[in-house]
Symmetry: C3
Subunit: 636 residues, 3 copies
């Protein structure tokens, strides 16, 4: 609040004329000072003088002995505040001066910061900030206000279900008067007045600066010492800041992730960290449900069908619930050229996108469309740095308090994606401290994968946290459930291989490698676990275990083939490019890593494509160092 | 309100006896007139006379000087109103007469029309009308009342979430007393009393007449001068009236439409016009969401699966929300024999159906089941009059204010369905005035089709209005989005044709036509855009461009074939009929137009069916005038 | 309430000392008795004596004439109640005794039973019981309280949408003070106080006993006299008790059932009976919607995909709405080894499961996982005792008042599953009494099957009750609808057979049986009604009608075969077991009955599997008595 005294400093400087203050009507006696002069209006005439107002609630007597003129009710005059009596009464003299300067004293109420509301419960407060959300409930309209310190829900009641202050939109800077109340442990402000602020460049700047500061990634130490993490640390912090900022801006977040074990290890911790942060910021246990959604993608990229649906939902939520358009976070997905059409669709609506992935990236294709892109290949690392490992750190940067729940997750992620990173030993040791040995962790990974298979497009939030053993999952239930599901996965895999193995055709390539071929459409059960890609991987693993030679396995169906190699440098992306060129009318597409990948083609050209592919395999260089980590991302 | 004076006119005519009025207790002083006689009851005895009631709130003094008898409280007597004093007091004389006729004056409150409520906000009003909707909210029960002028929501509060007036059902004629209040700009009546009207044949008749009048199609001038529109105008007006009537009756409307470009150009304008009209009628921005739904159908007819689902939803909404069963509007769909099973299912529940379609109709099959059926073929016109063109006029008849938003839509509809109507020039000129040249319009059509493909069964409301550029879509976003999606459609089509074209087998038929055959299941990518039907169309277009001969293209899969012809009179419906007959165990079905159509058969008889089909094609008459407009409706 | 007098009985027994009661402050004058002594405290001193309190609201005068000492306000003394005056005033004497025994009289309010609340509307009551549900509405928090007699909803309002009494959880024993009010005909208690009871072992025991008693199956007489029902009666009663108990415990029930005619005849009556019972218990018409769900399963067993989804939903409902985890009821499904993986998944969460099925059971596999298992084979009966017949009795045991609506349902169930049970005559006669002749019932069964086909995974609640003719379905509509749908089913079946019959290959087996083979994937229309399994059945029926020989029909697709036999003892489960063994890499699985069943295999081994199968068929024993009842359960 600027008092007259303060105003003096600025307005009276160098002036010779006496100052007469003209107080805005909202001022209280806190704004006045004995000895100062004020514009006043007569509000009553009594025998012994006149009563004057210098503000709506600031009045006092000018005793007849101090009065020069005669005044009727409504007359204006100048007064000088003689004294403030102990009982609060004000005594004025008439101020008879001709030359003076009027200083208008605008009323500037004391603004309470949203994180000081706890101490002001039940009192009248004034808040300044930006409206970052408006939700019409069956009762009041709830405005979410963000100021420099925090976010608070402010309930304005016009009538049940009726929009209060319809002139206010998301993004407006406003002043709210109201009373903070406790609601289920959180603070909610009951609004008595709400109005847009007209000239608020200062506030905008303060809010922006505060947002930058609050959004910054939290300062955490990596769970283990590892060069790879160091190299990627700044990248992850940038993603953490984007996500935290989205929360502070009340912007919904959609996590699109690969629906396999590593994708779950990446996305569930981030979802949890965001949920906790949202709950902290909004003080509302139900807010995470509206503001963060985890959506598994069956394909290893963002399909047009998915993005069209996501976009339409986002536009609908905007139109119906006044939500902002979301930020999209791609996890264990999102680094490849195949994501471009989806990204371009989001770009039409300026929807920001961040990606954390460890699949072989195509930065030329995607970087222009991504706001942040984290991928170990971009920092000289590889697939062994799994997305789950990275996202556990990301989750900690978002909400460090989550650390204890997650220390076994990177090891699960590494095992499920068969990481051969040196850091695995440290991650396994870390998990050991929580009572998980390697077989426990493998079981969790298998269980995640198995449950993800059956959940299909559902995120399975409540089930998956129990499988992964996070978010206060009951320890015994978590262990039993992971064991049960991993056993089912093993049993189903065994049944699948019982059918398939007798049909694997094995031959020797010119380069001495063993080539295994199987028609997974004809010789594996359909619509069951494991799907063709994973079935091919399991066959490959058995074949590798049986021989010392380099081994390639091709599992093909009517219009696709899944490839795995141990010991032969296939360079699958290169092969796909050549086949696209060489096989006319083949409709070839696909990709992957050097030694793990998949190819699609039109049904009628399968024999041509496979023949050309095998010729290339026979010419490929033997490199016994090269192991196929996993076919993750290329199942069915 | 009928005053005694008015009643006189009717009841006293020719009578010799003096009249004594017996007022219903609800009457006010407005109902009385000095000089008239009334039945009265003593309510107080004072020194100077007696006070009498002639209605609950109409009392006055009979001064002792004017009193003949002696009365105690509760006694009845006859009085004459001597004067109404300036202060409103009434002065009576006793009326000592023996022979008189009593005229009972029923109380008939002043009924306010629902469209006069704005001027009566905050006052007590009485409304008469029909209950057309009852919705139990978490707070009050909301009764939707329709009178001769409009519809208004009336909120009756018993207790939070508790059904008020459970004896009242939809369809009841009622009298409501209450107070109109403003709610988000709309009027809602707070109910103080609500009761069924017993003897209300008059009201029913007035409501029916008013409904007829209000439901009538609005009077609009066609966007362009065109004979075809003139011929179909009355038909469209009849559909408009059906739809408007449904809105006024609070009956939900389900729009089932073909999920392609023309289907979108037809259904989105009608959905918007209905939404605006609903909002006007109900004064509630959320009402359209509950009362009109747009549902794309992948097949070019109403499938049993869809109708079973629709019916079950409708029954559920009836049971849960008290909604009426809906009216179904078939747009760019619905004219063919294939729709009959679905229509028959709806007929079990007396659900009305209207259809506006330009696919070759089978009126014998469907007209008995449709309440209205608009199709250019039924008026001597053809496929070139697209459903989008018709439905833009239909939308205008429903809500003329929508006109400005839609003037480019008929041109989009025509281009996307390749209309060769002469009117296209006028439609293109109209769109040009809005700044769209032909390539812009083509891009919008392609974008609609592309987005519809990926949305599958979702209506994509929020996205599609941006693509089509209606409903206050941001102009730049609309343009960019249409460009982006149409580019993706082109790119995907090119990729599809790169794979497919080398596999097209071309031969010469006996009649000199070029026959192109392709197995689109084996030689086109699956589960992508364009689907087999549209892929066949694109191949056909390329082949037509390459040659001067008549051209037929057949795109076949395991159990279907899609046909296109330019320059050969195939008469596909006739061929299908013959094949059904000739190929035993072929399971042949299908249909379409002369030169565009599709055939289904059982997988194992494909070779037989295709051979028989080609024989027929070779015998077909050459007619260079015949062009295949589009395969719209036969994509899978 | 225990009065001092009663307390005397226990505490004073054999004591010589006079008793002085120390009343808990909540006591009223009902707790006092003239002549008894009390501990008192002075609350006022007047000229003529002192006023004393013996409880918060129990005060009176000790006249100075009866007062021995001198007392100031706050002093304690002993008093004797001299008299209770007609106006309610109490007159005390000071009780001057030295030796006495103090008996503390705890306040024990009068507890009202929840089924006595109707008589106490508007009064203050106290309830004791267990919290069995907590739902946060937009307004109050609704606690569902179960006591020994019933269940009642108790609304506690903290603030709109704010959880009241957050310290209370489901399962807590509590005392509620409040006021019963009528809400839509049901009673709801407005809570003024709610607190957990600490030491409540007694209450727990009473509640448990009451629950046992109330949960017990209602005593009904079988609809017809039939040995088979007698044998299964106790089993059904045990299931009824489980289901009733779930309702009383506020535990949701998920009915998973076979999506065919018999499955509908089984599950709809049970759903209805439960809904009515829930409505009775909760007095809330919307409660059934939350507490009982019917979910059709396309496969004849509980698939992993379904159970994963169900489990995830259940966990989500628990987390979001505080619901208990459900009880799962398997109807016309659930007896076989194929259900084990799903059951094991539910077991991880201790979710109880009951099954009523008539498919050939594998008790060794499932009984350890089921809480109740009813199956005619387990009591020496067979498939002819259909699940629908059993479940009509089960529904009656749950809610006997439903009987009249269901008397035609067992006959429908029997016809749709082709039961050859002797009891069919009685069931048909019973239906005849309701005006259904056999063709009507067959039509209903066909209509159920047809509608279930198109509804796919939707339960179709509102539609299916109309088809089955229960739950106050309009009689004419029910009849017309069943006729219409059964006619469509017939017509579609005829069309399917027109395509398929010419492709049936017939040969003679060594044992003289006629073998019919058809590739239903190649020679039947796909994605339509009837699906391959039912198509095979229809073909078989036609073949049986044409010949006197034993007949086997095999309808096969790429990776499955459906089998039917009349007159040959196939023993399909045995054959499947042998084929699994004999055909290496065949991926064979499947099962069924002796003469009805299905087999799955990997596509590439079809010829091997079918050849081996036919060899076995040729060796199988002829047994003209054996008829194939139906292929129910093997449609895809």
């Amino acid at each position: 609040m600027s008092t007259p005294a303060e105003s003096d400093d600025r307005t009276d400087e160098g002036a010779e004329l006496p100052t007469v203050y003209d107080l805005a009507p909202e001022h209280t006696t806190e704004a006045v000072e004995a000895g100062e002069r004020y514009h006043a209006t007569v509000n009553g005439v009594v025998e012994y003088g006149v009563f004057v107002d210098i503000a709506d609630d600031v009045s006092g007597l000018v005793h007849e002995s101090n009065l020069d003129g005669e005044y009727a009710v409504g007359d204006d005059l100048l007064v000088r505040l003689d004294e403030i009596r102990p009982n609060g009464d004000l005594g004025f003299d008439e101020a008879t001066i001709d030359d003076y300067e009027t200083v208008t004293v605008e009323y500037e109420p004391e603004i309470t910061a949203t994180d000081d509301l706890e101490a002001a419960v039940g009192e009248d407060v004034t808040l300044d900030g930006e409206i970052v959300g408006i939700e019409q409930t069956g009762g009041p309209t709830v405005f979410t206000l963000r100021d420099a310190s925090s976010v608070v829900d402010c309930a304005a009641f016009e009538a049940a279900g009726v929009r209060a202050y319809p002139e206010i939109s998301v993004g407006d800077l406003v002043r709210i008067e109201g009373t903070p109340e406790r609601r289920e442990g959180a603070i909610q402000v009951e609004v008595s007045d709400l109005a847009a602020l007209d000239d608020a460049a200062d506030l905008r700047e303060r809010l922006d600066n505060a947002l930058d500061e609050r959004a910054a990634a939290r300062d955490v130490t990596p769970l283990i010492e590892w060069d790879a993490l160091d190299k990627l640390w700044d990248d992850l912090e940038a993603v953490a800041a984007r996500l935290r900022r989205a929360v502070l801006e009340n912007r919904p977040i959609r996590i699109r992730h690969h629906a396999d074990g590593d994708g779950m290890c990446a996305s569930i911790p981030v979802q949890l960290a965001l949920s906790r942060f949202i709950e902290d910021v909004h003080g509302d246990a139900s807010a995470p449900r509206h503001l963060v959604k985890r959506l598994p993608s069956k394909a290893p990229f963002y399909e047009m069908e998915d993005v069209t649906r996501d976009l339409n939902f986002a536009l609908g939520d905007r139109d119906r619930h006044g939500q902002r358009l979301p930020l999209v976070a791609m996890l264990d997905n999102g680094s490849t050229e195949e994501d471009v059409p989806a990204y371009e669709a989001l770009a039409q609506y300026d929807i920001p996108i961040v990606a954390v992935d460890h699949h072989h990236p195509d930065p030329d294709a995607v970087d222009g469309l991504l706001d942040e892109h984290v991928n170990p290949y971009l920092r000289g690392e590889d697939y062994g740095v799994t997305t789950g490992m990275l996202c556990v750190e990301l989750a900690r940067m978002i909400h460090p308090e989550i650390t204890d729940e997650l220390s076994h997750v990177p090891a699960v992620a590494g095992l499920t994606d068969r990481s051969e990173a040196d850091a695995m030993a440290d991650y396994l040791a870390l998990a050991q401290e929580e009572g998980y040995d390697e077989s426990d962790l493998q079981a969790i990974g298998d269980a995640l994968d198995y449950a993800a298979h059956w959940l299909r497009y559902s995120s399975g939030d409540a089930l998956m946290t129990d499988v992964l053993g996070v978010d206060a999952a009951d320890e015994d239930r978590h262990r039993d459930l992971a064991d049960h599901l991993s056993e089912r996965a093993d049993r189903d895999t065994d049944r699948q291989l019982d059918a398939a193995m007798p049909h694997v055709e094995t031959e020797s390539l010119d380069n001495g490698a063993q080539l295994n071929r199987i028609d997974v459409e004809r010789y594996a059960r359909r619509f069951t676990y494991p799907a063709p890609g994973k079935t091919t991987g399991a066959i490959h693993d058995r074949k590798v275990a049986e021989t010392d030679s380099p081994v390639i396995t091709v599992g093909y169906g009517p219009d696709f083939a899944v490839l795995r190699s141990d010991g032969v440098r296939l360079d699958i992306p290169q092969m796909v490019e050549e086949l696209e060129e060489e096989v006319t009318g083949g409709g070839v597409s696909g990709g992957g890593h050097l030694v793990v990948g998949s190819i699609k083609f039109v049904k009628g050209m399968r024999e041509d494509v496979l023949a050309a592919l095998e010729a290339k395999m026979g010419d490929a260089e033997i490199d016994e160092e090269l192991g196929s980590a996993s076919v993750a991302g290329f199942e069915d």
